[in-house]
Symmetry: D2
Subunit: 442 residues, 4 copies
């Protein structure tokens, strides 16, 4: 029954302080109960998996349920926390910061919370970015703004130097809000802390607008992102119908996973083609994309295409394809939107069929908006649960929602691979149902 350990979470030591929260330990009194240490949520919820486990007599994969514990590890009167935000903007960062500060202050009485400026740079003294003092008064309105009040940066910093800084500043809890690279960095910081034997907890709050974090239902900001894209697609359709054989191409975020493109397209059913990194497609040939596009124009005289930035990378010739990475280590993609635009223009010119192409690339317009109400609720939940988990002495974990329930997962479990659209699954099938595009374009 080793399965049960797969999602086990590192703990600094035995939690021996009584939680200051006045919660209940019995059911029926209409007061929330402390979460017990052994409460777990199943990962696979199909009856089939149940039967498989039953047959194999093994315990199914369970994840640690998130929430406040009766005993906590830290002496909250002396606890000092820090918050750092890394990587590109994503709607909801300020909501998370705000709820972390409120939760630490009002639930547990944490008196000092440092805001680390400009990402991991802020943990390297030589950059000269001073800490900000985060108080309820300071953060009370920030949820209404996009961006991050702390600033951010891309790229990794020296782990040892960061741990020095964390230790020297007396930080007990480090909340790192960021994507894959940031979380790996947080894990490395946690590892180094462990090596040195420090009593410091490192907590990750996954932030990737692409929604590509392994295992978890969704990341914050993702819904806001496709909400903003929804309107842009609605109006791109106006550009398409506004000209004879009008074609609108909307490029959306999605380096490795096409969730934003696919969700936005379903949400605004005027899209005829969705191209995502998970799928293989060819431009030319009888079953190529351009042939299908031509058929569409012949029938309706306009078309709307939504493409994720990471789609169709194999279409770039070798010499332009050499991999480039940005400061965060992400592979920088060639601009598939421009390639499509140019390929479409060439193809229809060759076919003597005049088209009007409008190429729309709203990336920064989307990343920088405030969180929408769903994401606000979600960011708040993530932050509160992160606070409870941190105080309990757990470390090197992330908080997330799986099958609609908040859980804690080891950082390593969510960073070992990217979440991608399953081309054989129901979600992608809905995209095909909605757009009418074929299963395969090759």
């Amino acid at each position: 029954m080793a399965n049960g350990d797969k999602f086990g979470i590192d703990i600094l030591g035995k939690a021996s302080y009584d939680s200051p929260l006045r919660l209940s330990k019995r059911h029926g009194d209409n007061i929330f109960n402390f979460v017990k240490e052994n409460e777990k949520i199943l990962l696979d919820t199909s009856l089939k998996e149940y039967k498989k486990c039953l047959a194999g007599k093994k315990e199914p994969l369970g994840m640690v349920k998130a929430g406040p514990r009766e005993k906590i590890y830290f002496n909250t009167r002396k606890t000092k926390a820090a918050i750092v935000t890394c990587g590109g903007l994503c709607p909801g960062i300020n909501n998370v910061i705000r709820s972390l500060v409120m939760g630490l202050t009002y639930f547990y009485g944490v008196k000092e919370i440092l805001g680390v400026r400009y990402g991991y740079e802020g943990l390297i003294p030589s950059y000269g970015h001073d800490f900000v003092d985060l108080t309820p008064a300071y953060v009370k309105d920030i949820h209404q703004f996009g961006g991050t009040i702390l600033g951010s940066s891309r790229g990794s910093q020296d782990v040892g130097a960061m741990v020095d800084c964390i230790y020297e500043n007396g930080i007990d809890l480090l909340f790192a809000i960021g994507g894959d690279g940031t979380l790996k960095g947080a894990d490395a910081i946690g590892e180094e802390i462990k090596k040195r034997g420090f009593d410091i907890s490192v907590i990750g709050i996954p932030k990737t607008i692409d929604n590509d974090i392994n295992l978890i239902d969704k990341t914050f900001g993702f819904e806001t992102a496709y909400n903003v894209a929804n309107t842009i697609i609605r109006d791109a359709h106006n550009e398409a119908t506004g000209a004879y054989n009008g074609i609108a191409i909307v490029k959306l975020m999605g380096r490795d996973s096409g969730f934003i493109a696919a969700s936005a397209a379903i949400s605004m059913p005027v899209v005829n083609f969705v191209l995502v990194p998970e799928m293989h497609f060819e431009l030319e040939g009888e079953n190529g994309f351009l042939t299908f596009l031509k058929k569409r124009l012949d029938k309706k005289q306009h078309a709307v295409i939504v493409v994720a930035e990471g789609a169709g990378q194999h279409l770039f010739s070798e010499d332009v394809k050499e991999k480039v990475t940005d400061a965060s280590g992400n592979v920088k993609h060639k601009d598939i939107g421009l390639l499509l635009k140019n390929s479409i223009a060439d193809y229809f010119k060759k076919n003597d069929c005049p088209v009007t192409i409008k190429y729309i690339d709203p990336s920064y317009i989307i990343r920088s908006v405030p969180a929408n109400p769903e994401d606000s609720v979600f960011c708040n939940g993530l932050a509160y649960h992160a606070v409870h988990g941190a105080l309990s002495g757990r470390t090197r974990f992330v908080v997330g929602k799986v099958n609609n329930r908040y859980v804690y997962l080891p950082i390593s479990a969510v960073t070992n691979k990217r979440k991608k659209i399953n081309l054989e699954g129901g979600f992608w099938y809905t995209v095909l149902e909605s757009t009418g595009q074929p299963f395969k374009m090759r």
Copy 2:
């Protein structure tokens, strides 16, 4: 192992036609697979429940997985469908109608789809409401509008007369979009159809802005509703801070369940008190609401209160309390918002403490908006899965999402009681964490 039958669904007969959908039956080809008849999703996803079932050797509760089947029951070339929308407005009705029409037409080739006008009235010829012919061209833009293009009505109609009408018009599939009463009506229609031995499938698509349908994660329109409420609360806060001892009361929908009030309050953290039907509270006394409100004003000179319409009904004196029901059979509540407003005014007058109270009741403003992008995605998914389920010959079922997955449930399973906020659960605890209000006000 009788548990497995609890969520069994009525079927008209053996499905013997091949589905026109070109799906796959094997994994690994990147083509969606037909859903097998025995695929089920667990209701309870806790490890504890798993262990309990294991110990008791009983199969855990599973629900039928939704999706297209390899064999279908109806001869789609001759199938005629009808759609009816009942009850109050809710964001997303038109999205559901649109996706039903698109799915029936383009997936299965259904040629005739009738729009029933003004709810169940449209199935009673004496009202004189003619059917509308629903085609892709007719519905293509309707997702951008709130309301229902078919019109609606409240109240039940004679079941026998409706079945006569359905039968005489050659309707094979009846999609009923509505709340608790509508679904019970649909079930009764299905029962009568069964009695008469007709080959007609009745499908329910739960529509309740209050999100109070038993078992299922959420109903469509609910997220849009609290999204609109979010901004109204944000600005109500401006009214509260705009006056010395300013108090803003926002009354939101929620007859039996306070999900909208609670979610909206979490999403816009300026709310100090959330009052919902599930909780008991008193106005007067040391631990009464008014005492807490006074403390809040003393400290901050303003307060924002969000109250669900069904909250605090015990506060009405017997003579004003006699139950009144609307045409749908819903208990009409006394206006708790006005009662609060008046009670607060009296209390502070008695305490010689001048306050300024603004009472905001946005009900119809919320119900009538278009669906937001999340609800658009959701409505589309509900409709597509309803279409697949209907064609498979299932009847008297609803489509819904449970633990994030689409399932079919018997209508009776979701109408036998209302879903309510669990005051002992994590969601309500988050409300208390966010507002700072006490567990109990009595």
Copy 3:
């Protein structure tokens, strides 16, 4: 030629300081020129009026052009300003506050700006409302929020006591943002200051969401108001069409003038009847409103009615009609929306014609929103011009836009009567053209 003096503005004394602004005094250098003292804008721009003046050899009515002067009255190094906001909320108040603070600080180097809390109450020490120190850092983000960061109150205060307070706190410039009552109060303060011989300038910035200030093109917040109403009407139409013989009644602000109701109705052309205070109408009779409403329903089975709160006050019976005034001295109107709702219900019941009526009253939802971009531009312009006018030593004036140009007008000129819709003018005719309602309903 005495006409020229009609809009003359009181001046504290000869402006003898050089403006710190580095503007130009000649044309052609692409640098803005100081406004000359004799620059005026015509009130009546018709050729007819021109000819009339020409024939009568009289100068046409001109208003003082707003803008920075070469010589200013105050020694800006020692100048202290104060800002007060009175009356109900209106979109844009914070924008005006922000731009006043920015203008005073950055254009003229004013070092101290007091924020008066809770309207004129804040100038009466016994209320105990301390001043707020307004700095650029304090106000920099407030334009993104509705309401007023200073708080407000209704009602007048003792003029002598307020002047005592202003004088004792060394205030040189008092900016009063408010409606008719507030402006009259400001004028009275200015008069008392004059009597006492103090060197203090009083500046009014007209704030009335109803847009009913005499002479000036529009007041800030008005456009935002009907913008918000626009969407509410759009969705009210969904309520109307959502039921057989559905009627939606939207009550909008407009105590004496129906500008919001009329503008909102034109902006969202689904409205069938607009009822405003300026028009007389009867409910009953052959040409009464109810008869026209019945005809509309007979033809289209739904209707949308927009009514200004001050419309149809003569319809209330004498006993309910006795005039009540709120703390600001405004006549509180009986609820015409409810009266319509009840009258319509009675009428159609009597006529045995079932209707469904939805009554929507969004007042506070509209008042409390942030300014839209047009109003943001406008508020900024008002504030900047108010600053320039104040420093020039003018007093007891308001800033406004007339015929699209910023001018200064004596407070008394804009408070001596309300601006109303001219029922014989082009604007009202457009309402009739758009709704199709008859010129007269009696």
Copy 4:
């Protein structure tokens, strides 16, 4: 006194039919009066101009007041109208189409209105674009959508061939909605019609999102455009503050005139630099843009730049500068946004100062949105007045608002030059006041 003729409008002949409108001819009856033929509005409303005219004994420049006339030229029972939309998208086109159709149909009883598809192409039969039949039912909801339901195209077509088509299809009134090129085309069509002696009226409705039509206050769509830009700038500021030395560049529409860039910047006061086509600026040098940008970063560590697409064209080296024109004959500008981005990057690299630059180009996102409520009101007014003017027999005119009043102007008067920001005027001065940027950067 020849001035009076400067804005004279061509008339097909004596209007001899009675208007079907039941308007009044006397004041005081609360019924709108027919506009008299000699009613005019002054262009220059300054007192100075009045005195100049008085001294010179000349009549000031007056423009024909728009509105319904008592006598009309066309026999409305036989009148056939056509509507054509040309050039790029602009918010409000559908509003104009809708109100033209409603006005023609309901005010004057015009029975047949043709929608010309894809701009002037639709008047050249060889393109094969059939007319659309525009009826109230067809257009009733289109105001809620951006784009143009008729489609559009750029570029001119043979005037003679278009007149052939117009004549052969029995069109009496041609409404052309478009920009400078379209209006010139309409004027040429009108000239050719005159030559041939046809009884056909040609009416222009100016459409340029840039707001650069000579003489008139504003063009429709312009306010919506800067409204959308407002939010984009708000969030671009988040990108700027989200990184150390973060710089956000937002490029907005404005080929020859910077009204959108300037208005958007005033409306969202987070902008530090506005660069428009009207101004000259250098990048390098002591007073160059880059020097000022560096100072800004040194002080605040972030900057927001708004640049109009036509700004700084002199900065392109000769070889990249050769003028290219699009199909409409507009000069296609080199991408000043990219040039800025690259120049800034180079400059700060050279200065060893790391910066993060985000370049945002929302062009199509803005052009394709639905009209906002102000523009909806405005589009409606333009269309109604166009209808009245057309029926009166006037031709080769545009409808517009000058000094806040609707007037008719000869097409030639508004196309002989572009409206530009007066760098010496109050509007530009407000931009400088708001941003704090210097008068000159050279």
